[in-house]
Symmetry: C2
Subunit: 277 residues, 2 copies
């Protein structure tokens, strides 16, 4: 998928919502456990009930990998299902990979070609040659960790050099010099709204994938205040707040309501923004 299609979808749906599919068999409704493939069945019902509100789905691969071979089969089915029934929706393999060159190429092929995801998340610690192999794929996006929403996110990411530059800023700046840098997006946690202004100065045009709204305490308004750019430029993710809002038979209906609530907040923010133009 290219950026123009993603932006078009955002404008049409008045939404920049990404639904995170952290599918945990210990948390999904009990009645689904007897399904032939509970991981897929749960994901399918969530997708069917939220697709009108969401522009992206983000399966966290760890949750699928944890179930071994069955998990990988389910992950493949989930992406294929989205691509078949809702082909306009952007898919993100949240895998946080990163390795030396020839190994990163393997990972890139696995997620972009074999599994056919539109994007994959990567970790920056190993530098240029660990990320560029992902960037070599046309019409695919590589979403690099910059400033993460978890408590440990500040352990190293805000490490400061003698000029006051933070590691996450160094990561952003450096990545712009890499080949095919226009295929980068960045993970920036919603729990760090005070950093969005600085981040937008370094990467004004790139999309940011923003986890941490809802369950982790991030505020949508604060993220949008400095995070929005001229093409919207945000994918705001919610996982638990939508998919586990209910663990009863009504889970898909409640997930739909929660997703619609977030979408409506986004539509309102976009509407206010358009009226101020």
């Amino acid at each position: 998928m290219n950026k123009a299609k993603l932006v078009k979808q955002i404008q049409k749906k008045k939404s920049f919502l990404c639904v995170g599919l952290d599918v945990d068999l210990e948390k999904i409704p009990v009645h689904l456990l007897s399904a032939e493939d509970p991981l897929f069945e749960f994901s399918k019902q969530i997708i069917d009930s939220t697709h009108h509100t969401a522009v992206a789905y983000k399966p966290n691969t760890a949750f699928f990998e944890a179930y071994g071979i069955k998990g990988w089969q389910a992950l493949e089915k989930v992406n294929r299902y989205i691509k078949e029934y809702y082909p306009e929706i952007f898919t993100i393999a949240d895998a946080k990979r990163g390795d030396i060159g020839n190994t990163s190429t393997r990972y890139a092929k696995a997620f972009f070609e074999d599994l056919n995801f539109d994007s994959v998340t990567v970790a920056p610690y190993m530098g240029r040659d660990s990320v560029e192999p992902f960037l070599a794929f046309e019409d695919k996006f590589t979403i690099m960790l910059a400033l993460t929403s978890n408590p440990g996110g500040l352990d190293f990411q805000t490490f400061v050099d003698e000029n006051g530059l933070n590691l996450y800023e160094k990561v952003l700046q450096t990545s712009l010099t890499w080949k095919n840098a226009e295929r980068l997006m960045y993970v920036v946690g919603a729990t760090r709204p005070e950093y969005f202004q600085k981040i937008r100065k370094i990467v004004p045009d790139h999309f940011l994938l923003v986890p941490g709204v809802g369950a982790q305490g991030g505020s949508l308004e604060e993220v949008c205040k400095y995070g929005l750019n001229k093409e919207i430029g945000l994918l705001v993710n919610s996982s638990r707040g939508i998919i586990y809002a209910s663990n009863n038979k009504d889970f898909a209906k409640i997930a739909r309501e929660k997703a619609e609530e977030l979408q409506q907040q986004m539509a309102e923010i976009l509407s206010v923004r358009d009226s101020q133009k």
Copy 2:
């Protein structure tokens, strides 16, 4: 596996060699491609011909994941084979994972419990709560990237703060404060021998997993000069230099010779060291 068993094996074999299983169907001997499971068959023959020289095997999970479900099955078989026939050997899932807490727990369970590896490699960028879930497993080791051997390793890992502290040093220091830090090992590239002295000052007692000897240009002597500690404390990895030394029918025999060469160099280094005590 615990540290005492690993050290005992090293002393018995006079070797601290780790053989990296980067199994690539485009590089293995053509005659193996008709085997029922070429990934496993190649690995098995390499293991059978090098087990007397190696104290650890390190399958790089990317190479298995790249072949989808069959790849995961092969990875599981490889570890099971080692555990059944050579139970004294330490196994490393080179997966370079790292995610927020509940997700890291998923990864830890997948590699330590489902696949039964002795250790797994992780990336430090997301900080404490991305690594501690791995450290919670008794008799398992978590091998964190510190200073990697690839060219991009210096993009961020040697980012320097106002006191002259490098990011990799900050990562090492900080990790020592984490719960169950004694279950950590660290990846330090053989291509960076000038850093080993500084690293040993911070982590004198931990094992270092050292890739980059051979194909990537690192020197065993230089690594040992400052890297060895009182319990040896090194696992020196060679992948391509052993497993792809020949891609003909004699590949296992040649791999054995290359592994024996490295083991003999290690035995010599240990012998000189013991004589100097």
